[in-house]
């Protein structure tokens, strides 16, 4: 430990304190709440039980956890696929007007109220919207549950695409263009430069963007609420109903804790996978 360490601790102490008080304490309380039995009409039930978890581990509830995670994975992958070219152009273009236009679009989307964007999707592509025929492209009717799921996906993409693209702009700006030039001058074709040089160098940024968007998707509440028409429900919607409509805090808390554990497991798993696939990252 260096002499500067105590001073460093002093600097991080307020943030750590805030983290413990604002994040860790509520989560610990949530975990504790999840172990209480639900007693109708009792605000502070006594006793301990694992029933709330046992209920949620039934196969019927696996559907909700699987569905939520599936939306998260698909939409995050799409956000990367669509955000990467945008970010690349914004980072590398010599035309400042184009860069400004892309940045303006992304930041503008970020600052536009999400609820307004979701209602815009609903009135445009919903059952009575002028583009309700859009559903037929997927072989569905606009009133079908399948199309409600597609609208939820589009809504989530609206939410996370700007974040993914803006995250990647920083990543691409940090890639030294001379590495590409060196590879090209040694005869490497463009695809090999992209896959052999750029992708490994950008991988940490891509993984970060994926994990951020994934977390944003699976914790989202308002998108399935507004676009899911009550047939597409995320675990957050189940939690909301349990806590606010039925006052079954223990069951709602158990859903939250299970999601927390699942997300930690997935994020840890993906990070570990990335470290194995990208040995250079193992030490970073």
């Amino acid at each position: 430990m260096t002499a500067g360490a105590p001073r460093s601790w002093g600097l991080v102490a307020p943030a750590l304190l805030l983290l413990v008080v604002g994040l860790v304490c509520p989560l610990v309380y949530l975990a504790r709440e999840s172990l209480h039995p639900f007693v109708d009409g009792r605000a502070l039930p006594t006793g301990w039980t694992v029933t709330n978890y046992a209920e949620l581990l039934r196969p019927a509830y696996a559907f909700y956890f699987f569905d939520t995670l599936r939306f998260g994975l698909v939409v995050s992958a799409l956000a990367l696929a669509l955000g990467t070219p945008l970010a690349w152009i914004a980072a590398r273009t010599a035309r400042s007007a184009l860069r400004r236009a892309i940045l303006g679009l992304l930041i503008g989307l970020l600052f536009t109220n999400l609820v307004a964007r979701l209602y815009a999707i609903l009135v445009t592509y919903g059952t009575t919207g002028p583009f309700s025929g859009f559903a037929r492209l997927f072989g569905l009717s606009a009133a079908s549950p399948g199309f409600a799921a597609i609208l939820v996906g589009i809504g989530l993409l609206h939410f996370v695409l700007p974040v993914a693209a803006l995250t990647l702009i920083g990543t691409f700006q940090n890639l030294n263009p001379r590495l590409e030039e060196a590879a090209s001058s040694l005869g490497a074709p463009r695809w090999r430069v992209a896959l052999g040089i750029l992708l490994p160098l950008a991988a940490p940024g891509l993984i970060s963007a994926f994990l951020i968007t994934f977390a944003m998707c699976i914790s989202n509440f308002v998108v399935p609420l507004l676009l899911g028409r009550g047939v597409v429900l995320f675990t957050t919607n189940l939690m909301y109903v349990r806590i606010t409509e039925i006052a079954n805090y223990p069951s709602g808390a158990a859903i939250g804790i299970i999601m927390l554990v699942l997300v930690f497991a997935i994020v840890y798993g993906l990070s570990a996978l990335a470290r194995r696939l990208l040995p250079g990252e193992a030490t970073s």
């Binding site: 109708d40 605000a43 028409r229 047939v231 189940l238 109903v241 409509e245 006052a247």
Partner: protein, 363 residues
């Protein structure tokens, strides 16, 4: 529907203020003006309440701050629980099952005919009572939940809930999540197949049939979602409360199926509950609730809601005459649900919906 225009409102509020002052809402010098926080529903409820309160504030000096229900009215119970007893609310606009939940928690102040003279004109059966028989709510509206449909979107009249299984209604049904209306959807479906509150299985069987056939196009959580789904034409048939139906009826030809041969309409009361707090706030809350219960104000309050006034001296709007029942029709068409029992089942029903119905809706 009789619109609540400026002339009608001014005449009504003038009469209401006069009646309220003569009828017991008179301020004495000892009554200091208070600031009250009232929880109310959005849409027509808050609009008419704000209009009424303009006059009330001038008369009494009491200032009213509003907060809107988020989601179903039962959500307010979950919101209050962690805050109790440090709750900022003085009055909560809700309905019978919510009042029962709050009575069970011992959050409410009893009301009496001596302190609130306007309550003398409200039938005793409308009040929610505690175990000691004390009056715990201020009923303002007789409401109901019914099946109904948009006549411009349905080719042939609907005469039975059984018809909703027909292919023409695929994706056209709008139903509330079972926690809404304390599970009245489950009850109406159960009654369709010979069940009741305590024999709900026939309702689940019918619900599964509807879900499997793809009839349910929308599951809603609140009035606004219902109004949007029905007004946009996204769905054409629904089961929901008359207040929300009234908003749809304002703009579209709508048939409320309150007189089905093989099913029933469900009646219940809405109104205010007074939350326990200090003596002055409680006194001001009672003053406020009493004002809303006076005949002219009660009439004015219910007119835009499409609900029946509870004060026997108030007249119901012409437009709801076809929905609510004459005394001799009550036994045949109306049903008063056992909300206390149903409230105890809602958690179970919500879980069954999640595990047995939602997966069917997605297929």
């Amino acid at each position: 529907m009789m619109p609540l225009d400026r002339r009608r409102f001014l005449v009504g509020s003038g009469l209401g203020a006069t009646a309220a002052l003569l009828g017991g809402a008179r301020l004495t010098p000892a009554q200091a003006a208070e600031q009250l926080m009232v929880v109310q529903w959005g849409a027509a409820w808050i609009d008419v309440s704000r209009k009424i309160v303009e006059t009330y504030t001038k008369e009494t000096g009491d200032k009213i701050a509003w907060e809107l229900h988020a989601g179903g009215a039962m959500a307010i119970v979950a919101k209050i629980r962690p805050q109790w007893p440090n709750v900022g609310y003085n009055l909560i606009s809700a309905w019978d099952p919510v009042f029962q939940a709050m009575i069970k928690e011992d959050w409410l102040e009893p009301v009496s005919l001596d302190e609130m003279p306007a309550l003398k004109d409200i039938p005793p059966a409308f009040f929610q009572k505690d175990a000691a028989g004390r009056l715990m709510s201020v009923p303002l509206s007789t409401s109901g939940a019914f099946w109904g449909y948009r006549e411009d979107l349905v080719d042939k009249p609907i005469e039975s809930v059984e018809q909703l299984l027909e292919p023409r209604f695929k994706g056209k049904l709008c139903v509330p999540y079972p926690v809404n209306l304390t599970g009245l959807l489950m009850l109406t479906l159960a009654m369709q197949r010979g069940g009741n509150e305590r024999n709900i299985e026939p309702g689940w069987a019918l619900l599964k049939e509807l879900a499997q056939r793809g009839q349910i196009g929308r599951v809603i959580n609140n009035n606004s979602e219902f109004i949007n789904a029905m007004s946009s034409g996204e769905t054409s048939v629904a089961f929901f409360n008359i207040g929300a139906w009234t908003q749809v009826r304002k703009n579209f030809p709508t048939k409320i199926l309150s007189r089905l041969a093989d099913n029933r309409g469900f009646l219940f009361n809405e109104g205010f509950a007074i939350v326990k707090s200090d003596k002055d706030k409680v006194a001001a809350s009672k003053r406020f609730a009493n004002y809303f219960a006076t005949p002219a104000i009660n009439e004015m309050y219910n007119l835009p809601l499409g609900e029946g006034p509870t004060n026997s001296k108030a007249k119901p709007g012409d437009d709801i005459a076809d929905v609510f029942y004459k005394p001799d029709e009550l036994a045949r068409y109306a049903y008063i649900a056992d909300f206390a029992y149903m409230a105890s089942q809602v958690d179970l029903w919500a879980k069954r919906w999640e595990t047995e119905i939602t997966p069917l809706l997605r297929t």
